[in-house]
Amino acid sequence: MEIKSIKSQFPIFKNKINGKPLIYLDNANSSQKPKSVIERISKFYSKEFSNIGRSVHSLAVTATNRFEDTRDLVKKYINAKSREEIIFTKNATEAINLVASSYGENFIKKGDEILITELEHHANYVPWHFLRQKKGAVIKFAECNEKGEVDIDEIKKLISNKTKIIAITHLSNVTGAIMPIKKIVDMASKKKIPVLVDGCQGAPHLKLNMQELGCDFYAISCHKMYGPTGVGILYAKKKWVDILPPYQGGGGMIEEVKKDNITYPQSPTKYEAGTLQTAEVVGFSESIKFIEDIGIKKIMEHEKEILEYGLDEIKKNNSVRVIGDPKNRGSIISFTIKGIHPHDIATILDEDGVAIRAGHHCCQILHEKMGIAASARASLGIYNSKDDIDALSSAIKKCNKVFNS
């Protein structure tokens, strides 16, 4: 695949960082945006903008159509059964909070169990913690092994007749472990336990097929999929959209409002209160087109090749310890360097234009488990090449040099 031509679609790479070309390896945090997405937002504001779903004038109709077109595109892209299963949120965090709140309100009571894993991002723990505090529910953590993955047996072991939901990441944002979601769903559905998947890292890097995966909820942050900030998606099976109560109250999410009673539609709009991030949602349609133009299969092949090269290269440096060694790994290499704190690594790499992330990556439980306070993380996107990995390796060598001089 011609990476150069893909990279040239991203205006950010025309800039120099500290006088050096940008080597962007912070994609798990957020990805860069292709020109088509940026221009789509600009065009929407210049030619098509109006608030959606409320007025009957021409612009309102156009804007509403463009917004709803995106819902259709998303439905098709993730192979949901119906467009009614696509709810727009502001990010994956809000999508998970929505489920914790709306599902939790009706289906979780004192003593009930919420099953998550030690791999989870804080976004897939804190909302459940709120529920634990509010309802007296219990959170169980399926253990992560030294390879940085959670064995399905660890999950199985914790399922009881009190388990009310399993909430689990698709792809760990620290170890890169890809979880066997379909198997977990199969196991859970035998006991009628719904499964929420935190798809933040899954969505940009894996083929999505909701009907095949079978999960009840799937949370996505569009800004990690070459899309705008401020847009997230909650996929929720139609049966849940029909029965779960609304999340926030306001305009746009009601059916009928009387002084003594309010009713809500049985559609995703029930969860989309207030004026939405319309332009960004419309802009996201171009991200899907961008991904589809290349093809997710090609993206996966390319990222796998760079990942394997990256792991090989980085492991050649004896001072580097890669976090985790999952059987099935996607696009993420977290590491530590002996004697150098991850934040010092990130600062030194930045001098060479190499952007990585340092810290606990919102996974404090996992870092504690691994016995470290923080790690450095290089995470890949479609525009990364072997040259980027070479730049990373030599910048790491520079860390060794700075600290051992």
């Binding site: 500290n18 004697g339 150098i340 704190h341 991850p342 934040h343 010092d344 600062t347 030194i348 001098e351 340092a358 810290g359 606990h360 306070a373 923080a374 520079k398 700075v402 600290f403 001089s405």
Partner: protein, 154 residues
């Protein structure tokens, strides 16, 4: 900007071999500090005499080279000094990190001045200023008897 201006030899030395990194005997003041960005943690222990002179000071903690070096240097600098003098030094230090002004404090020896100045490169790295100031703010908390953990905001 050369990275060596940030990671000067003095900083690397103190980062790798921090001085006074223990829990000093008979401390009568202590406070904790936490920098959520880097995950730096310090716990400062002080033995303050009746005249508010720092008789002994030490710290425990873990974090990036900047935070550990800064804590180490801080303990060396304020040991044996009156609290009011230490406070003045901190003011100058903060100014140096914010405005890039040179340190000119009579109460510091040339050598102490050099050690403090070794942290001046941090100014070019706004995200890292908090690493350099954490131990100092924690010191102030300890002396003032503030029991809340110092938290440099995100």
């Amino acid at each position: 900007m050369d990275i060596k201006e940030l990671y000067q030899d003095i900083i690397l030395d103190h980062g790798k071999n921090p001085r006074n990194k223990n829990k000093c005997k008979d401390f009568n003041k202590d406070a904790k500090g936490h920098n959520p960005l880097c995950g730096d943690k310090v716990h400062v222990y002080i033995k303050l005499d009746k005249e508010k002179k720092v008789e002994d000071i030490s710290f425990e903690g873990e974090g990036c080279a900047i935070s550990m070096a800064s804590a180490s240097i801080m303990t060396e600098i304020v040991k044996g000094k009156e609290f009011n003098v230490a406070k003045k030094i901190l003011e100058h230090f903060l100014n140096m990190l914010k405005e890039g002004s040179k340190l000119s404090i009579n109460s510091l020896t040339d050598d102490e001045n050099t050690r403090m100045m070794s942290l001046s490169g941090v100014k070019q790295f706004p995200m890292r200023v908090k690493c350099a100031t954490l131990a100092w703010h924690t010191f102030m908390h300890a002396v003032e008897g503030n029991r809340n953990t110092v938290k440099t905001e995100k």
